[in-house]
């Protein structure tokens, strides 16, 4: 329907966008466009602005200059065409509430009144849960589910209202490699079935390699968008990290190294276990040599 008509309009368009938070430039003069139906992996070191970019697309942060357009319209808070999955909070891990009620809280959740579901809303919730294959999980308390199972229900919630753009903020955090793969494959499948655009942020490139169409790498206020070969190379990443970066390929895996150090791995180890982080604060210097887990390279 509308999807056919809007294929020519990009899902996301940034025109010379500058975003400064707390006196620091998160993005400076960034221009890029993401097409409809594209699966974009969003990467970059901590504090590079992955969450900030998503919050800007959601209209929660205003750029200090430039224009952000989402599906042909200016980025505005409460845009029903955007589905959003924030980083998993610890609260959900201890909830005794069942998954169904958790997902259902998102349907017209911004409207005043009692959270009573009519038949149409119940149907929409059931469809979203079915879409991610979580029907068998929905009756169980959220706190009893594994991290991967909870992510499934979070994804269902993000899909309520049939969004045309899906923003997923670090869905792989604190998941083991197997569940990481399951979540990536699930998102890819749903994305292709619905023909929607996806921004999927992650600390590590490798879990996304098979699924993503293009990669958006953020760092140092800059952004590079392109195919893996165009972006994941020494010159481009050195500019984004502001230090000399080597890209090493071993069997179909790609390691981004700085001075013999796997920078993505480091970022992951820092971030793991944290709640949510608006990409502000600590600008870790990943170049310096700290004690490093000798098993660090053996992931996935």
């Amino acid at each position: 329907m509308t999807r056919m008509a809007s294929t020519s309009i990009p899902a996301i368009e940034l025109e010379q966008v500058t975003i400064a938070l707390g006196g620091r430039f998160i993005l400076s003069d960034v221009s890029l466009a993401v097409g409809n139906g594209e699966f974009i992996g969003v990467l970059g070191p901590n504090g590079a602005g992955k969450t900030t970019l998503m919050r800007a697309l959601l209209g929660l942060i205003k750029p200090s200059s430039g224009h952000i357009t989402v599906l042909g319209e200016q980025a505005i808070r409460g845009n029903p065409a955007i589905g959003y999955m924030p980083q998993l909070r610890s609260l959900a891990a201890h909830l005794t509430l069942r998954g169904w009620d958790f997902v259902a809280s998102g349907i017209d959740g911004h409207r005043w009144g009692l959270p009573v579901l009519n038949a149409a809303r119940r149907q929409a919730v059931a469809e979203a849960i079915d879409l991610v294959g979580a029907t068998h999980l929905a009756q169980r308390p959220l706190g009893d589910l594994s991290g991967g199972e909870r992510q499934r229900l979070m994804l269902a919630q993000a899909l309520l209202g049939r969004p045309r753009l899906l923003l997923l903020d670090e869905p792989l955090i604190s998941l083991d490699p197997h569940h990481q793969r399951v979540v990536v494959e699930l998102v890819r499948e749903v994305q292709q079935r619905l023909g929607i655009a996806v921004l999927f942020s992650a600390h590590e490139l490798n879990p996304l390699l098979a699924a993503m169409d293009r990669v958006l790498y953020l760092g140092n206020g800059h952004a590079a968008l392109g195919t893996v070969d165009q972006v994941i190379n020494g010159p481009v990443l050195s500019r984004l990290y502001g230090s000399s970066i080597d890209v090493v390929r071993i069997n179909q895996r790609i390691f981004v190294m700085s001075g013999g150090h796997d920078v993505e791995r480091d970022a992951h180890m820092h971030e793991n276990g944290h709640g949510h982080d608006h990409d502000l604060g600590h600008g870790h210097d990943h170049a310096h040599g700290q004690d490093h887990n000798p098993d660090g390279r053996r992931h996935a």
Binding site: Y84, P86, H94, L95, R98, D101, A104, H110, R111, G113
Partner: protein, 282 residues
């Protein structure tokens, strides 16, 4: 046999309810229990039980201050808890992780209340009534006020329930969808303040946990369904409050003691009867 027993029970019940103060107590406890159970469900869901506790302590200073200047303790209680609730909601995230600051204000409030009472002559009776409740001393007027604040709290909760639930479970997503987290938080803590004020009339400011947190936490242990959980929290609070009154009537022990005992009993029973209890929540 059964009919005879029923007759005796009815007879005892009739005798008990012949007294005006018992009728008032049952009505007051009924109103308060339902409000506390429903509001408490969201308080527990949001992990804000400490805020509820702090509000009741601030209320103590308000109530005693009102006595000192010749006002009614209930109006002082309501005014102070409401102001504190709105203030806490407005501060929002700035208060998270500030348990020490809240704790200091909490004890300062009790200290201030003590000072206010020091200047007042009917010291002990008032202090005990405020701290531990005086459900058998509820007047017609108080009952009316309780009904008013109870209705106001429930109606307001009904209006904000959907965004409140959304904001409690998925704050970032709710914010993105246009929910004002701060507004929801302020309104909710104002509602909590009303519930706490009402609750304090029955079990006293020190024991509001018994009706606001106990039944709600028990209900969340027993069911994972939202609607059922809210109903169960209200139902448990009602049963605990009324049964507490009956036990107090027959034993002559304080009603507040029985209500806290029943609340604790139900909560610990739900812990042992539920396999999730084996997993420590950290």
């Amino acid at each position: 046999m059964i009919t005879r027993m029923a007759k005796i029970t009815t007879l005892m019940g009739v005798v008990m309810l012949d007294y005006d103060f018992m009728q008032h107590a049952f009505a007051a406890a009924g109103i308060v229990a339902i409000v506390a159970g429903v509001v408490g469900f969201f308080l527990v869901l949001r992990g804000q039980t400490f805020a509820g506790h702090a509000l009741s302590h601030v209320g103590f200073a308000g109530a005693t201050g009102a006595i000192l200047i010749g006002g009614s303790p209930l109006s002082g209680l309501i005014a102070f808890t409401l102001l504190a609730g709105i203030g806490m909601g407005a501060l929002g995230d700035k208060l998270s992780g500030r348990d020490v600051a809240i704790g200091v204000i909490l004890s300062l409030s009790l200290g201030l209340g003590l000072l206010f009472l020091h200047f007042f002559t009917a010291y002990a009776t008032q202090a005990t009534a405020l701290l531990f409740g005086n459900v058998f001393g509820v007047s017609n007027g108080t009952l009316l006020v309780l009904f008013g604040i109870g209705a106001a709290a429930l109606i307001a909760l009904g209006v904000i329930a959907r965004p409140l639930l959304f904001a409690s479970l998925q704050p970032e997503l709710a914010e993105a969808k246009g929910v004002s987290l701060r507004l929801v938080s302020v309104l909710f803590l104002a509602i909590v303040a009303l519930a706490v004020s009402a609750c304090a009339q029955v079990v006293g400011v020190l024991l509001v946990f018994a009706l606001m947190v106990g039944p709600a936490a028990t209900a969340q242990r027993l069911t994972s369904r939202l609607g059922l959980g809210v109903a169960l929290a209200a139902g448990l609070a009602l049963v605990e409050a009324w049964l507490g009154l009956v036990l107090a009537y027959y034993t002559d022990w304080p009603a507040s003691f029985w209500i806290t005992a029943l609340s604790a009993l139900a909560y610990f029973a739900s812990l042992t009867g539920n396999r999730r209890a084996a997993i420590p929540a950290h």
